[in-house]
Subunit: 209 residues, 4 copies
DNA sequence: CATGAATGAGGCTTCATTCAT
DNA sequence: TATGAATGAAGCCTCATTCAT
């Protein structure tokens, strides 16, 4: 990993430890699920010992929460920023948001987080609430904004934005879940680009005035 | 403890045991996830002792697989049967399939199975493969059939059926996942009927020729 | 331990387990202190495995509390019973109580409990309160009763019974503590009989009217 | 963190470190017991880092032994010095010794040491032996001297000094133990002055010729 | 001298699984 | 068949101790 010339028995890198541990934890939580992930494996993958993990996190649950929060929040900020600056048609905006969400998500740990939340929110009600408030609600609001923008400008036909927002978001989330859980076992894996094009195609045709 | 000579009312017959265990296991697996479900709780909920469970299943993993297989297959049979007898428009057929799928799924334990598969397919590759082959593939094929029927009859515009099938199925699966995992914590829970209407609305508008 | 003819891999003795575990735990807690006692050693000494202990006790703390309560309460009942039936002089009564307390205590686990309570009551405030209420208070009250009886009958001179009760009880407790902790290392161990005679001698001479 | 160039007011000198560590350790050992005391807390309370502790002590056990030895010896020297200069009656001497012992003990950390020795002597046999030789034996000898002085001068009646010494010392030790462990939870805490007066009262009346 | 990040052995606890009855 | 007491491997977490800086 770190290609320093000489490695002493251990190197002082307090600054880097949390990120390294979070990265390792994300990988393993996504790969194996919460319960099946052993903290020792997380530590090992981060290149430290079991005890070191406890210098930075209170325990497994705390680590899990940090993983979720750390990975999810930046992405949302990013997404919302895109909306502000958009000037073109609402169709363009929706397409842009979808494609960029996938772009960002698939290059970060967020694809895995989705699976984790589906799987573990039952066991972490407080995390589920956080996720709902900070992630789902914000995401939904974004879609509603786009829908209303489109309807106001006469670009989209009139629909029940509140119900429709969920329908529109669903294929995007499912794509993340498939990539993480079922797709690896599929004989014919999903082609994300074709999938997204079909999704956009369906949405824009389904919404157009 | 309870050493009553004669069992009241209906005698609990041995041949019911597996079903009772599977039912209890489904509930608990869905409620708590695979790892957090204790076999003793499953046995207790089924009204038998821990040891008895091992008379019918090889262990936790075997029980889990049986739960998935048992609950998923009947639903698919059911769904496919509906297609055969359909004579009307393809739009009607699609609407019918969506609404009936939800009808059946939400009244069985299948809604929970979806969450389990997303969460655990990484830990049970062979189960994931089974699920893909027996469930996902069959479900996808069904949708493809409907799409192609619609296109062949000039009811639907031409789309990439292979990519579109996933897009269409996604909102249905997400509805199941939401109901099971994230929705319970949401301030404003989803209204399935409105959601499904929006979904059908979007799909039919998005597909119409 | 149990000299049964043939020992199967394990023998069903649910009834006996708690007592066996409590006995083993008493020995080890007294010998090594609370923290230094490993539950695995307790289990082993009781002839069972680590996990079995958890079938009967919630954990280390619960086991500790049970040890204290189980061993202490019977002794107090016993002691109080002796007072009821006494008819002779108060000096005789005091002597009788002291000698019989030691008799009972030294043949039970109570000598060790005293050390445990001194050592651990700081860590178990609720146990300390229990011990104060159920043991210390009852013991003190007993001594007060004897003192007042003696003063009322003109056998003892007038003293501050409330302060004196503690002074009188102290050498008895110290004898228990010495036996358990420091005495084993002493070059010249204490002779309990001579000690008790001196104690009674001092008390009766110090109290006589 | 705090990188101030000049240390305010009194500079913390290196030669104070051991005493500061010993003082902190005494407090914590007494408060929590040996096992429950974490060296990091000791260091923090002494205002140094964990590693620094190891510059002055070999480890936890070594620190503990030093705590006991350091705190106990001065008190004994002090006590013995008082005897030398006494000229009055033996009753006066005994009273003086008792009151001054408590005076000194209760203003130092020695009250806590008693509890520690009772609790831990089983785990530190060599420390127990030291304590017996250096503390108990010297204390006992002191009492014996007083008793023999009193008997020789016809002030005390003849008693078995060897057995009696322990009886006389016991209430003094118990007072220390009560203060440290059980008393804090008692509804009616002990009043040391009344207790000591009763003790002296009982002893002198019990011993007088 | 002093620091504090890092280590890893060791203890408590859980629970899937076994098996004598 | 059915039971449930018993097992023991495995994981989380703590903390005394080390050592590069």
């Amino acid at each position: 990993m770190s290609a320093s010339a000489k490695e002493p028995r251990w190197e002082r890198r307090k600054q880097d430890r949390p990120q390294e541990l979070l990265a390792a934890a994300l990988e393993l939580f996504v790969e194996r699920g919460y319960a099946a992930t052993r903290l020792e494996d997380v530590a090992t993958r981060a290149g430290v010992s079991k005890g070191t993990l406890y210098l930075y996190f209170d325990g497994k649950e705390s680590l899990f929460k940090s993983v979720v929060r750390t990975n999810v929040l930046p992405l949302l900020d990013q997404a919302e920023a895109r909306i502000e600056g958009h000037a073109g048609s609402s169709a363009e905006l929706l397409r842009d948001l979808i494609l960029h969400w996938w772009q960002s998500a698939s290059h970060s740990g967020v694809v895995g987080i989705a699976k984790l939340m589906v799987a573990e929110s039952g066991n972490f009600p407080e995390l589920a609430r956080f996720y709902h408030d900070e992630v789902t609600a914000r995401g939904d609001a974004t879609v509603v904004r786009v829908l209303e923008r489109g309807m106001a400008r006469g670009e989209f036909r009139r629909v029940d934005a509140d119900a429709m927002k969920k329908v529109i978001v669903a294929p995007l989330i499912m794509l993340m879940l498939w990539e993480q859980s079922l797709a690896p076992c599929a004989a014919t894996p999903i082609d994300p680009q074709a999938y997204l094009e079909s999704m956009i195609d369906l949405c824009l045709n389904g919404l157009k005035a």
